[in-house]
Amino acid sequence: MEGQPPAPVERTSRWSQWFARLTAPQTRRVALLLVLVATAAFGGLDTVNKQVTPFKPGEDFNDGEYTVTVDRARLVDDLTGTYGRPEPGKKYLAVVTILRNDGTVPGRLRDQLDLRDVKGAEFFGAFRYRDGSAIQNLGPGLTEELVFSWQVSDSVAQSLDSVTIRVWKKTYTQLKVTYGGKEWIDTDNYGQIVVPVKEQA
C-alpha cells in the first residue's frame, strides 16, 4: 500500500504561512491603509472624539443651523400667556433663549436644546416669549426670543441649582434612506452651557 497523500500537511503548512504573512506588521499596516482609503471613498469613518464647545449665558453659539443665545433658566408654577398649567406636584423649568435661523429652510425647535441629567424632565413645548404662543419651527432669516420648557417634579426642582444644556452642531445633509430633500442632521459635536436656575418670585 502506498503512503498517505501529503496534501493535508502541505495545506496546513500553506495556510500557516499565509496566516504568518497576513499577521506580519508590514502587511497589517498596508491592510489598514487600504481599508482607510476605501472607507474615505465612501465618506470616511465617523470621528471617535466628540468636540465640545463650552459657552456661557449671553454668548452666541452657532450650531450650523441656528445662532443660539441662552439667556436664563427659571422654575415657574405656570407659563404666563401659554396653555401651560403644570400637573400637581410639578413645576416648569423655563429656559429663555434667543434663536436666529441662519439657514434657508424652516428649522424645527423640538430638540434644539438637549437638557441633560434632570431626572424625569419631560419636554413641554417651545413658546414665543413676547406673546406666549406655541411655536413649532422658525423660518430662515428670522430671530425670535423663545421659552423652551420642561415639566419637572417639585422634589427635583428643589435641588436644581443649575442645568446643563447641549446644543448639537448640525450639517445640512441630503437624506438617502427616507424620502425627503436635504435636512439639518445632528453631528457628534456639540456646544455645552451650564445655566444657573432661579426660582421665579
Binding site: 465612501f42 429652510v105 406655541a134 430662515p140 424620502y179 430633500g181
Partner: protein, 189 residues
C-alpha cells in the same frame, strides 16, 4: 498550460479589486436622491390664473405684505397669500410653501384656524389665506427676489406640485398696514 505567472495573477487581482471599489465609490457618490426618484413634477403658472395639477387646482387671487395680521406682529414681516383651491378628482389634504429668493417658508402656525389648513374636495372651491412670516429684506420694495408659491396634495411623491409665480410689480400685489383674516369658506363651484 499556464498563461500567467503567480505574480501577474496577483497583480491582476489587486487591480480588479481597486477598480471594483473605485467604481462602487463613484456610484455611491452619485446615487440619485429620494426626491430625484420619487419627487414631485412641477406645474408652473402665474398668480391670477388657475393652475391645475393632478389633485388640486389653485388660483392665487392676491398677495399682501403687512406688519400686522389680526393685530399680531411677526418676527419678520407677514406675507398673506389669498387663494382659491379646488379638488380635481378626490378629497385631498393640501400643503404649501413660499419660496422667496434663496429661502423657503412654511405657513405660520399662529393663525392655523383662520387659514387654509384642511382638505379640498372636487367641485367645491375653498377660499382663504396662507400667512407666512418672512425675513423683511427679502420682500422689501427694492428687493428683486421673486416669490413662488408651491402647492401640493398628500405627501407629493410622484405627484404634481403647483409652482405659482407671484410678480411683486403686479396689481395683485399690495403693501398694507394691517390684514384682518377672513375664515376660509367653501362654496360649490
Amino acid at each position: 498550460m499556464k498563461l500567467r505567472t503567480p505574480a501577474s495573477r496577483r497583480a491582476l487581482t489587486v487591480l480588479g479589486v481597486v477598480i471594483t471599489v473605485a467604481a462602487a465609490a463613484v456610484v455611491w457618490q452619485n446615487l440619485p436622491t429620494p426626491t430625484d426618484v420619487l419627487g414631485p413634477f412641477e406645474v408652473r403658472g402665474d398668480a391670477g390664473t388657475p393652475v391645475t395639477g393632478r389633485g388640486v387646482e389653485a388660483t392665487v387671487t392676491s398677495v399682501r405684505i403687512a406688519p400686522e395680521v389680526n393685530s399680531v406682529k411677526p418676527a419678520g414681516i407677514w406675507v398673506v397669500v389669498d387663494a382659491a383651491l379646488k379638488g380635481t378628482r378626490s378629497t385631498e389634504l393640501t400643503h404649501s410653501k413660499l419660496v422667496v429668493g434663496p429661502n423657503t417658508y412654511t405657513p405660520s402656525d399662529v393663525f392655523s384656524l383662520d387659514t387654509l389648513f384642511g382638505e379640498i374636495t372636487p367641485d367645491m372651491t375653498l377660499r382663504g389665506s396662507w400667512v407666512f412670516d418672512v425675513a423683511p429684506a427679502l420682500v422689501a420694495p427694492e428687493s428683486s427676489d421673486p416669490l413662488t408659491l408651491l402647492i401640493w396634495a398628500g405627501d407629493g411623491r410622484l405627484d404634481s406640485q403647483l409652482a405659482i409665480r407671484i410678480p411683486t410689480q403686479d396689481s395683485l400685489f399690495s403693501r398694507v398696514d394691517e390684514v384682518t383674516l377672513e375664515k376660509p369658506e367653501t362654496i360649490a363651484s
